[in-house]
Symmetry: C2
Subunit: 458 residues, 2 copies
């Protein structure tokens, strides 16, 4: 019998349900003991996931995978970058489970709904004249024991849940913010006045899981906001700036009766790149990162090439919903909690789909999804100034070329097809879509259905 | 009671089934009488649909829509262009039904399987030293009475069926060809020798409707082919060149056991543009044409802005299956027969979704799909040399911008949203995909689910 982790098991769904229930119960007892013992330990965040000392959090079961839980606090998140130099706060073994809380970096667009009453969020978003809960430099990611460059890290997304609002005024609800911002594809194309402008729309999500759609609550035009340090932000140029609701005009009744299907997922998930010590978490790349593919949700599995010792796995940029392209610059940015199983595949034992994998691969129940970028590895291809130059070279034409090359390699390597077979198949049965056009290194994904190969002997 | 043509009728599916049965029976009796009377009359083709004299083909029913049938012959097809100057061979009234046979222009890649024994296909593909069945100039399209510039033509796709192979050796089967050709996105990117090369893969489809997948039969590398006039074609530079199977090497067992889900649809469907007398049928535009969206299949409805008197509706480029992007230059090019109902919406009576529509709009059961191109109207935007220059300016970056603008206009016009509402909604609930990157005027489509508005009062 599988432990809810073997997709080939005929009773996988049943077993997985059992596992999740087990995890839930473990979480509650862990939280109880952890908070009693140490006052809470670990957390994850916007573009990063971190964990406190492993000993304090692990509910180790001899002979079984260990389960770790990581609440979000100011002590554990890292924000806005990846780094191979980060000190991991949690070390886990291949096969272990980790539940990670991710807080949206847009929570301060409406602190009443997304921060107030939530100790973790309050600690992370604390910002006074004297002190800031989390600056650009924060805590470290998840270290997978034994992971080395050339290995593949498999991440199974067991569950994704919205973070309930802690403010009693909004019990049972969760909230997110969509910012139509200056980095959006639409920004220079506005047709109505005033131009240009940035607009935040606050969305409500049902935290109880009863409803599978979100709805707009209100929107407001961004006005210059002064942060607690006294810096004025004329545009949305720094995440987490507290919006003073006395300075903005709220428009209620927007998108009235429109129901947005939810697609909870992590915009950011990946490992640390090797090319630079500190890497901006905005542009995605071979290491994953800010891919912004809404298919990276519950039930999906990601595969990443490990680039540095320990892998250094992070998650963040949690979204309640997003369309292919993330056109206006953001999704419904919403705090989420995810449960993952991390499995390490050593390079010497790689077979089939994973052999030679040099970019993030997504597996859903029905599909394989490859990810092309304007530059497959912009950090290497664009040289020392890569991290600024990538924003000047954004192109979906290039991203399509990369996606094509990757799908061809996938079909030739994992399905044993000739180049001619792979190319014909790509034209008649692979769907190419626009992942995002707002993250510097723009993305095109290529989707092929597993059912094509259901009758194949390969 | 609806006549199988009112989607809002609760029993639409039942009524439509009844209608289709009626159409089938009408088709048989019409064919019988028509061939007895005149030896057959009308046909449709690659980039065009045509019909013989209306009197000979219409099975007029007083007070009911008229049904027309259009078999493909050398007398009725037009090939490779649209033209407002074409003499319509059929005139119909709004609400009429038309069944049109489309022959794939790749049939001569394997004449044994796609032409032999089929009188219509044999007449169209006839090519001897002395005579060619259909040259670049052929017969005319369907004229809709009363259609004027500014009106909208609605085309409901009632049914799409593969054309069964007429060769007794392949009874019950249908065939198509996929050509990985020089205009494909992959062509300059090949990694295996010989480079460059063009490859045709022949696919088999079940003509009885029992199987919903296609499979490869064999492939061959293109070798220089000498046409009956003595012209040597080193590459696939002219559609319909008969391939001499003595000169190519067939590779059997390709894509072994791979099952391609079929998506029968018309790559080309649209009306005649007004900007030029003769318009190459390869680049799509505001008039529809070679959009190559596989969603244009059974059950879907297309809306086109009428540009010239009578509309001049054509179909062609029939496909058994295609992926988003049509990467290698073609789909599974396969002869299909479609049944359509054509409904004219006069410009003065346009409301809701159709008001101000200036580009092709696709409606499926669950979705609205807008079509962006590198240039929304390349014929107008690129001037007198538009028809050659468009091939030098292909860009999906531009196509995304156009798709974004069109979806914004659609949401603002038909759903009454403000620009800010439309832009937020596009980022969180609209999926942008790559329609095609092989037709000069490259395409991005934008999909929004109807269910978003199910609870809306608009």
């Amino acid at each position: 019998m599988c432990a809810g982790d073997d997709r080939d098991c005929p009773q996988f769904e049943l077993h997985r349900q059992g596992l999740l229930e087990e995890l839930d119960s473990e979480r509650r007892s862990f939280l109880k003991s952890a908070f009693a013992a140490s006052g809470g330990a670990a957390a994850a965040w916007a573009a990063g996931a971190t964990v406190g000392p492993a000993s304090a959090q692990s509910a180790a079961r001899p002979g079984k995978p260990t389960y770790h839980y990581l609440p979000a606090t100011d002590e554990t998140v890292h924000w806005g970058y990846f780094s191979k130099l980060l000190k991991p706060q949690l070390e886990i073994d291949s096969g272990d489970y980790v539940t990670i809380e991710a807080l949206t970096h847009h929570a301060n667009d409406d602190a009443e709904r997304m921060i107030k009453g939530d100790p973790g969020a309050e600690s992370v978003f604390l910002w006074t004249k004297e002190k800031k809960g989390v600056d650009r430099r924060g805590a470290g990611p998840v270290y997978i024991r034994g992971a080395e460059p050339g290995d593949i890290l498999e991440v199974r997304i067991m569950d994704v849940k919205p973070r309930p609002c802690a403010n009693p005024a909004y019990a049972g609800k969760a909230f997110g913010s969509n910012a139509a911002a200056w980095w959006g594809f639409h920004y220079k194309e506005l047709i109505t006045e005033p131009k240009p402008r940035e607009v935040c729309t606050i969305y409500e999500i049902d935290a109880t899981g009863q409803r599978n759609w979100a709805q707009a609550v209100y929107n407001f035009r961004w006005t210059p906001q002064t942060d607690p340090f006294g810096v004025v932000h004329k545009t949305i140029d720094y995440p987490g700036v507290p919006v003073d609701h006395g300075t903005v005009q709220k428009n209620h009744g927007v998108l009235k009766n429109v129901r947005i299907p939810i697609r909870p997922h992590f915009g950011v998930m990946g490992v640390a790149p090797k090319e630079a010590d500190y890497v901006d978490s905005i542009p995605p790349g071979y290491f994953g990162g800010n891919m912004d593919n809404w298919r990276v949700g519950k039930g999906a599995t990601m595969y990443y090439p490990v680039a540095v010792p320990g892998g250094l796995f992070s998650i963040g940029d949690s979204h309640a919903s997003q369309g292919d392209s993330e056109l206006c610059g953001t999704a419904i940015e919403c705090s989420l909690t995810g449960t993952f199983q991390l499995i390490l595949h050593k390079k010497n034992a790689l077979i089939g789909s994973l052999a030679g994998l040099n970019s993030p691969l997504l597996e859903t129940q029905d599909e394989w999804v490859l990810h092309g970028f304007s530059f497959a590895n912009y950090l290497e291809e664009l040289g020392p100034k890569a991290q600024s130059e990538i924003y000047e070279k954004s192109s979906i034409d290039l991203a399509l070329k990369d996606a094509f090359r990757k799908m061809r390699a996938f079909l030739m390597t994992t399905k044993g097809l000739s180049e001619d077979e792979a190319i014909s198949l790509m034209s008649i049965a692979v769907d190419f879509g626009v992942t995002q056009v707002v993250d510097g290194n723009w993305g095109i994904h290529a989707i092929i259905k597993k059912s094509l190969f259901a009758g194949a002997s390969v």
